[in-house]
């Protein structure tokens, strides 16, 4: 299997770096505070957006360190997954910020255990074309028009049911003659073959 192309250095903004430096500093941030930050970050990233509501939280007097470092650590997690940085890159980035070994290994372990989840959450962000999930169709045969013209032939009325973002439903409706429908099907088949050829040819 091929690994994804990865970058070897992490780009972190000055604000994030200084916040992380503070979080990793044994003398300025207590171990308990650090653990609280780490726990909250992985909790927040794990939570399913659909099932959660905003619950007011009791304020803990921690000198604002938790809030300050929480966003920075969360950003580090997300950016490292987004950039495809593996554990060693993150480790060296945190080493550059003077993190002690115990916090470092703990954080990297937490990141690795959450990596797949963050990856799929990142993947679900974005604009996706609607998916066709169902189709209704009807065949109309026109024998004579209201103006008295004869013929006209068969017309297909097709409704494609689609699923859009966040499970919204949509519809695409069109009508076409038999020839047009055949043409459409041929083109779709061609497209399928094209994709299969691309996927198998390497």
């Amino acid at each position: 299997m091929l690994s994804t192309p990865r970058q070897l250095l992490m780009d972190l903004s000055l604000k994030i770096s200084s916040a992380l430096r503070l979080l990793g500093d044994n003398s300025k941030t207590e171990y308990a505070t650090y653990q609280e930050v780490l726990r909250k970050v992985s909790e927040d990233l794990k939570k399913d957006c659909k099932s959660s509501t905003l619950i007011p939280e009791i304020n803990v007097r921690d000198g604002g360190v938790v809030t300050h470092c929480h966003a920075a650590l969360a950003t580090l997690f997300i950016e490292s997954v987004r950039g495809g940085h593996n554990a060693s890159v993150v480790t060296s980035a945190l080493e550059d910020l003077n993190w002690p070994a115990d916090r470092l290994t703990e954080t990297v372990q937490e990141l690795e255990s959450n990596r797949q989840l963050i990856q799929s959450r990142l993947a679900s962000l974005g604009t996706y074309p609607p998916h066709i999930v169902d189709v209704d169709w009807k065949l109309n045969y026109r024998v004579r028009s209201s103006a008295g013209e004869e013929g006209g032939g068969a017309m297909y009325l097709v409704t494609l049911h689609t699923q859009e973002m966040e499970g919204k439903r949509g519809k695409v409706t069109f009508s076409c003659s038999l020839a047009e429908l055949t043409h459409l099907v041929t083109r779709l088949r061609q497209a399928t073959r094209c994709i299969q050829k691309y996927a198998n040819n390497s």
Binding site: L2, S3, P5, D11, P56, Y128
Partner: protein, 558 residues
């Protein structure tokens, strides 16, 4: 010829033809095999081709299809003569030529071996192919089951689980919280007591997008203002403060609309609570007054609420003023205290000085009555102390020397150690750089290895070994040309080769005659193999059938 036929049959089978194992040579091909082989070759060369792989039963249609296949062979670039007869009445030599040409033309997937294994575009293509392959092999899930399947899957994919779980990249405005040690004291108390996590401010669904967005903005800002960030941060804090107080004092009702800054969201929450409480109060009030007043109109409630609001506003104003006054008072008191403490210390020092002076003066005054004796005593004491002084100085010198030597030695050592340390530090950083570079290199090589492994796996299926041997020979020739020593050896070998060549020429001359004989024999065989008579009878029967078909068609017409 047998070797060639083996390769041809193997290749055709690989393309999907179903050629019987008993068939050993091209001469043994039936019409079906010929047509399907040729058509499959053409399809592989040119994917747009829509020819059928088998011939229809009707004789006339048969001829037409055969003619179009022959045309396709010509279109591919076959230089020799080809027509429907070469497919329907095949002759071994022509057929072999056609197949050899077509197989030569087949696209070679080995050509994809690139010299640059880490080409970015190629990697992206490969990844895309891998993903496409994966999603093509996925099993289909009915649309109404997809979100259920997703909740059990370890990772959601759009191709497998539909778009139910996807959302737009929407972020909310968010300015990150400053480090509590850097902000002004007013803001610090806010941060320490009331700041909330970003998740609470923007909500879970916007968390990732918001963080990515704000980080991108910060990076951009870092690029533009790489050094002035601290000053900028300060100025930001300065501009923030008055804005906030204005909001609080002037029109607190507008705060919910004014944005999502951490302070305002907190304020919003507080206001919501206040408003709710006041509403409850109002409701209670109406409940109590309901039986007396009868009907209470909306207008009254609104008026009451406004009244309450204005009351609360003035209260807030009062409280703020009071707080400010108190803070001022505390500040003043602290200043006064510091001043007084300073004064106290000064006074105490003055007192000590005076006390020591007093003691001196008391002693001098006690010496005054017996001045002569006292003076002598004092002189003796002075002498003694002078002698003592000299002695001590000698002792001091004796002590000082070895210590000084030791000191200079230690300083020297220390400086040496310092230099050593610096060297080691430099070495360390160098090693670290090297390490990083090596890690980089290693991962690059890993990727290359993985890629090459993939290619090797795919290559194993390939049968056209001669292409590889040829390539290997080419490469080694190139290598030889590059190397100085090998070049000399190569030259010597070439000289030997030349000598041998002459010998071979002589042998060849004798061989020519033998070959001519063989050629003549072969020609006789060839003429026999063309199966002219057989083909002629086949053609006659086909002609008869066409005539019959035509006659029957005429019959139908009549």
């Amino acid at each position: 010829m047998e070797e060639v036929d083996k390769i041809l049959i193997l290749t055709l089978n690989h393309l999907g033809c179903d050629i019987d194992e008993k068939v050993k040579s091209v001469g043994g091909f039936g019409i079906e095999e010929v047509v399907s082989g040729v058509v499959r070759c053409i399809r592989t060369i040119n994917s747009d081709c829509e020819l059928p792989t088998s011939l229809p039963q009707n004789m006339a249609q048969r001829f037409r299809v055969a003619a179009s296949i022959a045309q396709a062979v010509k279109d591919v670039g076959y230089p020799g003569d080809v027509g429907y007869q070469s497919l329907l009445y095949p002759n071994e030599t022509d057929l072999r030529k056609i197949f050899m040409f077509l197989i030569e033309k087949l696209p070679k997937d080995t050509a994809a071996v690139s010299d640059e294994p880490l080409n970015k575009a190629a990697l992206i293509h490969q990844e895309a192919r891998r993903k496409l392959c994966a999603s093509l092999t996925q099993s289909w899930i009915p649309a109404h089951c997809r979100h259920v399947a997703r909740s059990y899957a370890t990772r959601a994919s759009v191709t497998n689980h539909g778009t139910y779980h996807t959302r737009q990249f929407m972020s909310k405005p968010y300015s990150s919280v400053e480090s509590p040690s850097k902000v002004s004291p007013g803001l610090r108390t806010y941060y320490e007591n009331y700041s909330r996590r970003i998740t609470k401010m923007v909500g879970y669904e916007y968390l990732i997008a918001t963080l990515l967005n704000s980080h991108a903005i910060q990076l951009q800002r870092d690029q533009i203002l790489p050094k002035n960030t601290e000053e900028e941060g300060k100025s930001e804090a300065h501009t923030l403060e008055p804005l906030v107080t204005e909001d609080v004092q002037l029109n607190p009702l507008d705060v919910p609309l004014s944005g999502w800054s951490p302070l305002s969201s907190f304020e919003t929450a507080q206001h919501m609570i206040d408003i709710k409480e006041s509403e409850r109060e109002v409701n209670l009030g109406t409940d109590v007054s309901a039986p007396e007043a009868g009907v209470t109109t909306e207008e009254q409630i609104r008026l009451k609420r406004e009244e309450q609001l204005s009351r609360l506003q003035t209260e807030i104003g009062n409280v703020t003023n009071k707080t400010e006054e108190c803070t001022q008072g505390i500040q003043d008191a602290v200043d006064a205290l510091a001043k007084l403490t300073d004064d106290l210390i000064k006074e105490e020092r003055l007192k000590e000085e005076t006390v020591t002076e007093l003691k001196m003066k008391q002693r001098t005054s006690s010496l005054l009555p017996e001045s002569a004796a006292n003076i002598q005593r004092l002189q003796g004491a002075l002498k003694n102390s002078e002698e003592k002084m000299v002695r001590l100085q000698q002792q001091w010198q004796a002590h000082k020397k070895p210590l000084e030597e030791q000191l200079s030695q230690l300083t020297l050592e220390a400086s040496n150690k310092k230099v050593n340390k610096e060297e080691i530090l430099a070495e360390m950083s160098e090693l670290r750089d090297k390490m990083k570079a090596m890690v980089q290199d290693a991962s690059r090589k890993e990727t290359a290895l993985a890629q090459l492994k993939g290619q090797v796996e795919k290559m194993n299926k390939d049968i056209n070994r001669s292409v590889y041997t040829k390539r290997i020979i080419d490469i080694s020739a190139k290598e030889a040309a590059n190397n100085e020593r090998v070049r000399q050896v190569y030259r010597a070998v070439a000289a030997v080769h030349e000598g041998c060549g002459e010998l071979v020429d002589i042998v060849r001359d004798t061989g020519t005659v033998q070959r001519e004989i063989a050629d003549l024999r072969e020609q006789v065989d060839l003429e026999k193999s063309k199966k002219v008579e057989e083909n002629l009878t086949q053609l006659k029967t086909d002609l008869n059938q066409v005539k019959k078909e035509n006659a029957s068609l005429k019959q139908q017409l009549l």
